[in-house]
């Protein structure tokens, strides 16, 4: 949503900043575009000019390089003109105000296409939010300060060092990848940023990947073991390699036994003909997730193979960024995070890891891809929870 917004400059005769904000709407907003004070005298500026009389109107029009808009009913013009001319007009008695014309971006919450595609919003409307469930983001950490995640953040544990100025916690995210996965799986349903697949599940940061986005087999295995020992419901494993690790496989078997639903990214080695699902996704204890795009085809980079169990959105997605904005992202990492979110919704309804896994398979939407691309199909949150969905 873009609203017009004016940065009021000097003239004390006109509306106040507060009034302009009120006109623009009640939502909290940030303004883009600088005030007139920032411009050089010869710079051309676009301004809204409020006038008192025909004389003031003519004076303004005479200075304009370009007339952007003449309002029909209110005494306002939108003009482009040199800054020094705008400043001169401000001093006229028949000009009420000169304000820079800018855009205003309301901090409205966005429903990313991936969340919509897996029908998570239908589950939310039914009251299924993942409340009471625990998702471990076994990754590069989670941004501890992110406004769209903070209410859902649980505990954190670091098996590798966070490096840099943003490391407020040992498990803080110095790469951004873990934060993006956390946002996809479980961003807060609020008035800003995006909404996640689950909205009230607790997100635990288990930092096993470093600033560069890599982690040792041992650190990753230790992270998975830790998740099992905490008794958490879901472990999101948006990480991988083309060859596996006995230690990680042992950790996955242990976690699976202890009731953890393990969800893994199939990998970005596509296109491949003979199957190229990476590890740990390829282990039988892990739900291997391929990535689809907005037209329900396999994303070009996505790995495929007989181990694929579910497909989920993973191309050109929006989710929380480590700053306050939103980025478009691609990867089987994010496809896995969608499935982890659905797993949390089911865990919140009392499903065990085994039951949740079977339920997601049984209710997946057949999108017509070969089984080595979609597995049982595209994960469907609403169908998994037994909530009717109208847009299969």
């Amino acid at each position: 949503m873009v609203l017009f917004y004016g940065c009021i400059v000097t003239n004390g005769k006109g509306v106040s900043r507060r009034n302009v904000l009120k006109v623009a709407g009640a939502s909290v907003a940030t303004a883009a575009g600088s005030g007139l004070a920032a411009a050089n005298p010869d710079d051309r500026v676009e301004v809204n000019i409020g006038f008192d009389s025909e004389r003031g109107r003519q004076a303004a029009l005479n200075q304009a390089d370009e007339t952007v808009r003449e309002f029909d009913s209110i005494d306002v013009l939108t003009l482009r003109l040199p800054k020094q001319a705008a400043t001169a007009l401000e001093n006229r008695g028949d000009v009420r105000y000169v304000e820079e014309n800018g855009t205003m971006h309301a901090l409205a919450q966005t429903l990313p296409w991936g969340i919509d595609r897996v029908d998570a919003e239908i589950a939310h409307a039914n009251g299924d939010t993942g409340a009471g469930a625990d998702i471990a983001i076994v990754d590069s950490g989670i941004d501890a300060d992110h406004p769209d995640l903070q209410a859902n953040l649980g505990e954190g544990e670091a098996f590798t060092k966070c490096r840099g100025g943003q490391c407020n916690e040992s498990w803080d995210d110095d790469n951004d990848h873990g934060t993006h996965c956390a946002g996809t799986a479980g961003a807060v349903d609020n008035a800003e940023g995006v909404v996640g697949v689950s909205t009230q599940a607790t997100l635990h940061a288990v930092k096993v990947l470093d600033k560069r986005g890599s982690g040792s087999f041992s650190d990753i295995a230790a992270g998975i073991e830790y998740v099992a020992d905490q008794g958490w419901d879901v472990a999101n494993l948006s990480l991988g390699a083309s060859s596996g690790s006995q230690a990680i496989e042992d950790a996955c078997a242990y976690a699976d036994d202890r009731g953890v639903l393990l969800v893994g990214a199939a990998g970005g080695s596509g296109p491949c003909s003979d199957g190229c699902v990476g590890y740990p996704a390829a282990y039988s204890e892990v739900v291997a997730v391929s990535a689809t795009d907005e037209s329900d085809t396999l994303a070009s980079f996505s790995s495929r193979g007989p181990e694929i169990e579910l497909a989920a959105p993973g191309a050109d997605l929006r989710t929380v960024s480590s700053g306050d904005g939103c980025d478009a992202l691609s990867g089987t990492s994010y496809a896995a995070a969608h499935v982890s979110g659905v797993g949390a919704l089911l865990a919140g309804e009392g499903y065990t890891n085994t039951d949740a896994r079977v339920r997601m398979r049984d209710t997946a939407t057949d999108i017509g891809l070969p089984s080595d691309e979609q597995g049982y199909g595209l994960v469907d949150a609403a169908a998994a929870l037994g909530v009717g969905s109208s847009d299969e």
């Binding site: 993006h180 982690g215 087999f217 948006s238 199939a266 990867g331 896995a336």
Partner: protein, 110 residues
């Protein structure tokens, strides 16, 4: 793609340092899309058999990352092979990217 790549191997007493350079010798910026958290990999071969790989023992984020190399600019990736046995080797450096797979190799002896 107008990317040109080369790799060097510098043999020290207890290690070998590899540097993989990818140069954009075209007139326009080139975008590289990395397949994962792994940007470039190095494999050491002895008589055609792989004896060491830089990415062994690690896993990586599974999201695409893009980087732009400006015209004339060089992107460098480096790795270290610790405590090698003496012998004659070839190092093969590859870019872990979609599209054109930049690859370079060079022989060295320890």
């Amino acid at each position: 793609m107008t990317l040109r790549s080369s790799v060097t191997a510098t043999v020290e007493t207890d290690r070998v340092e590899f540097e993989f350079e990818v140069e954009n010798d075209g007139d326009a910026p080139e975008e590289i899309t990395f397949r994962s958290g792994l940007s470039a990999d190095f494999a050491v071969l002895e008589d055609g058999t792989e004896v060491w790989r830089a990415s062994d023992g690690q896993m990586f984020t599974q999201a695409l990352r893009t980087e732009t190399i400006d015209s004339g600019a060089v992107e460098r990736f480096s790795e270290v092979w610790d405590d090698p046995d003496s012998g004659d080797y070839t190092v093969v450096a590859t870019l872990n990217a979609t599209g054109d797979d930049a690859e370079a190799r060079t022989d060295f002896s320890v």
